[in-house]
């Protein structure tokens, strides 16, 4: 087993990986940009190295600096988390060449599944159901037009190197095709350094159902059942759950076997996720492989009891899988809500600044994977994810209740977050009924403006403020505005989401 692991990431996922390492007796190294000196992952690790300026391209995406840090500090392995270099095949290759273990798939498999067009070809050949669409990348706009014609509108523009909604766009008619493809190319380029995009048939109101997979270096593969991630905003998952309300045991087994086959065909190892779209007729299509630990992995950990980060590290160290498919079972129901630094009252514009107060929710069946603390700054340079709230209960009904209760018990002051919005999503009758599709938010929350706040709460807020201005001792300290990035987002126009996981 490794003695020292470098975590090439930041935020909640870096903190979560650090905890897993400590439980396994492994020493941890954080790397950080100049904007992240006081971030939680730096404070939580045993060692920490600054690797460059705030822009990710100069720090968290800088392969040379990360390799240099790993060598300087004597790390035997690197965990990439999600985002940043997690799915960068060049980085994986570089690790392989320099004899540092990359905790993730091998570079060849990463290259294949990372190239959406090539992997579509490979999967079609292996008999995996795929969405009708282009089977190659084109250069001329005219060719995209004729392909779009062939597939039939609406079509999806997707980044070949992509994942997680980056560079993705729905195009409803020929007149929007050109600007849509250009925007997709630009975002793809900025997110992955590769502007290739392709077109696929747009499937209406599908469910997004993905299967978690573990594959060791010795050819053993198991799946750990599904997560349903249909609740999305701008192609970005915001709520995930397991089990999916749409699967019965038969369909689950069939999709699980398909997921394992996808992994085998790809020559994939370590933890990965096989994404499917499930249409209204319960027909499923292979979408892509996410070659990393997913944001939503805790959902699977809750329902199977398997610690996926422990497994990743164990597999990367060369050990054989000790879990067999027969032993695995889904128990109870888990839901995850992603907590973003975004203002749901104002078109979900990012909200950077200082967190003046944090109260983490807690209780039986409540897990909070957190990257922030009272007094920390949220920089403007990175993904707006602050934390994840995950709950487990015996059944879906109690799981929803527990989530609502935990969101009620969750306080973040100073910046805008999605907490209140998520509460209304979980409480929505259609969500409670399990009627979840990728159009859910668009359909039921396009006009969302929050509920009227009760007059009593407003009176209590005034009372507390009056008390605070009389009170000398024991109040909160005035945190200085030093280092607080200005938050001008509120005053601005239309934003487009260009990233995420």
């Amino acid at each position: 087993m490794f003695k020292k692991i470098l975590i090439a990431n930041r935020g909640e996922i870096a903190v979560r990986i650090i905890k897993a390492c400590h439980e396994m007796g492994i020493s941890t190294v954080a790397v950080f940009s100049e904007a992240d000196r006081n971030s939680l992952h730096v404070i939580s690790a045993d060692e920490a190295l600054c690797i460059g300026p705030a822009p990710a391209i100069d720090s968290y995406l800088n392969i040379d600096r990360i390799m240099e840090a790993a060598k300087k500090i004597g790390a035997e392995a690197i965990h990439p988390g999600y985002g940043f270099l997690a799915e960068n095949a060049d980085f994986v290759k570089r690790c392989e060449e320099e004899g540092i273990v990359f905790i993730g798939p091998n570079s060849k498999a990463m290259q294949l599944v990372g190239d959406k067009v090539r992997s579509r070809q490979a999967m079609e050949k292996a008999g995996i159901p795929i969405i009708p669409g282009m089977m190659g990348i084109l250069s001329a706009m005219a060719e995209y037009k004729s392909e779009a014609q062939r597939i039939g509108f609406p079509v999806m523009v997707k980044a070949s190197a992509g994942g997680g909604g980056k560079g993705m766009r729905i195009i409803h008619s020929m007149k929007d095709l050109e600007t849509g493809i250009e925007a997709g190319q630009r975002e793809a380029k900025s997110a992955f350094g590769d502007e290739s995009v392709y077109l696929e048939k747009y499937i209406e109101e599908p469910r997004h159902v993905e299967f978690q997979v573990l594959a060791d270096n010795h050819g053993h593969v198991v799946h750990l059942f599904e997560r349903e991630c249909s609740i999305q905003r701008r192609h970005q998952k915001i709520v995930e759950e397991s089990p999916s309300q749409a699967l019965d045991p038969e369909l689950r087994a069939k999709m699980g076997e398909t997921a394992k086959k996808v992994i085998q065909v790809s020559g994939y190892n370590n933890a990965g996720t096989v994404e499917f779209l499930l249409d209204k007729n319960k027909k499923f299509f292979f979408l892509e492989v996410n070659a990393r630990l997913q944001v939503e992995h805790p959902v699977t950990e809750f329902i199977t009891g398997v610690d996926l980060v422990h497994q990743q590290i164990t597999i990367a160290s060369g050990e054989k899988l000790t879990i067999s498919q027969d032993e695995l079972e889904q128990k109870g129901h888990a839901i995850e809500c992603r907590i973003y630094a975004e203002d749901p009252f104002n078109n979900f514009l990012p909200s950077a600044g200082k967190v003046f107060f944090l109260k983490e929710p807690s209780g039986p069946g409540v897990r909070h994977d957190c990257g922030i603390y009272s007094g920390c700054d949220i920089p403007i340079f990175y993904d707006p994810i602050l934390a994840k709230l995950i709950v487990w209960a015996e059944n879906r009904e109690m799981s929803c209740q527990r989530m609502i209760n935990a969101l009620d018990d969750y306080v973040i002051l100073g910046i805008q977050t999605t907490i209140g919005f998520l509460k209304d999503v979980i409480a929505h009758p259609q969500f409670q009924a399990g009627e979840t599709t990728t159009s859910f938010i668009e359909k039921y929350f396009a006009q969302w403006g929050g509920k009227e706040k009760p007059e009593e709460a407003r009176m209590i807020a005034a009372l507390a403020s009056a008390f605070d201005s009389q009170s000398k001792s024991f109040g909160p300290q005035v945190l200085t505005a030093r280092d607080v990035a200005p938050s001008p987002w509120q005053t601005l126009g239309k934003w487009r989401l260009g990233g995420g996981n």
């Binding site: 900025s190 403007i380 209140g420 008390f467």
Partner: protein
């Protein structure tokens, strides 16, 4: 003592007096006796009759951020100063002619050229930050007087990007 607060920008008046170790609150015409305590930094416990409220309170130099029963409020003392600061948000006509970077970020694309005519709400440029693209739009019907940046530039907050001028 009488207090006037702007709670989420709406005026709220309240009176709070200390009497024999307890507090008396007057809200509109209703008077309550309240037991109010700072129990922990940033946490206030309020008992009014048998009802128990846990209030979280954070503050910077000008604002209080308050959470009551899962509802977040922004509370400002209602003074002349805050009133005028409010009015300032609108900005002058002159300001409107200088298009500034809304936040530190990267210029992704500039869509216009100097002397080009533009319409109100036309997209002039795209600036990216926190993984989101922001479309910078024209506030007037007019023309482009000067362009200060080009694609790929890193810009600081409030940095002038483009100057416009009104139709002559």
């Amino acid at each position: 003592m009488d207090y006037e607060f702007l709670i989420d920008d709406v005026l709220k008046k309240i009176t709070l007096e200390k009497k024999e170790g307890r507090y008396v609150v007057t809200d509109d015409d209703l008077t309550h006796e309240a037991d109010i305590q700072y129990i922990s930094p940033g946490v206030i416990s309020i008992l009014i009759e048998q009802k128990s409220f846990r209030v979280y309170l954070g503050k910077d130099n000008s604002k209080r951020y308050v959470c009551v029963q899962g509802h977040n409020f922004t509370v400002q003392e209602s003074t002349d100063e805050s009133g005028s600061a409010h009015a300032g948000v609108e900005g002058s006509q002159e300001d409107k002619l200088v298009v500034k970077a809304p936040m530190p970020g990267k210029v992704i694309k500039v869509y216009v050229k100097e002397n080009e005519e533009v319409r109100k709400n036309q997209t002039l440029a795209i600036v990216e930050a926190m993984k989101m693209e922001n479309e910078i739009k024209s506030s007037i019907d007019g023309s482009v007087k000067k362009i200060h940046v080009s694609a790929g530039d890193l810009v600081d907050s409030e940095k002038p990007l483009i100057e416009l001028e009104n139709k002559k």
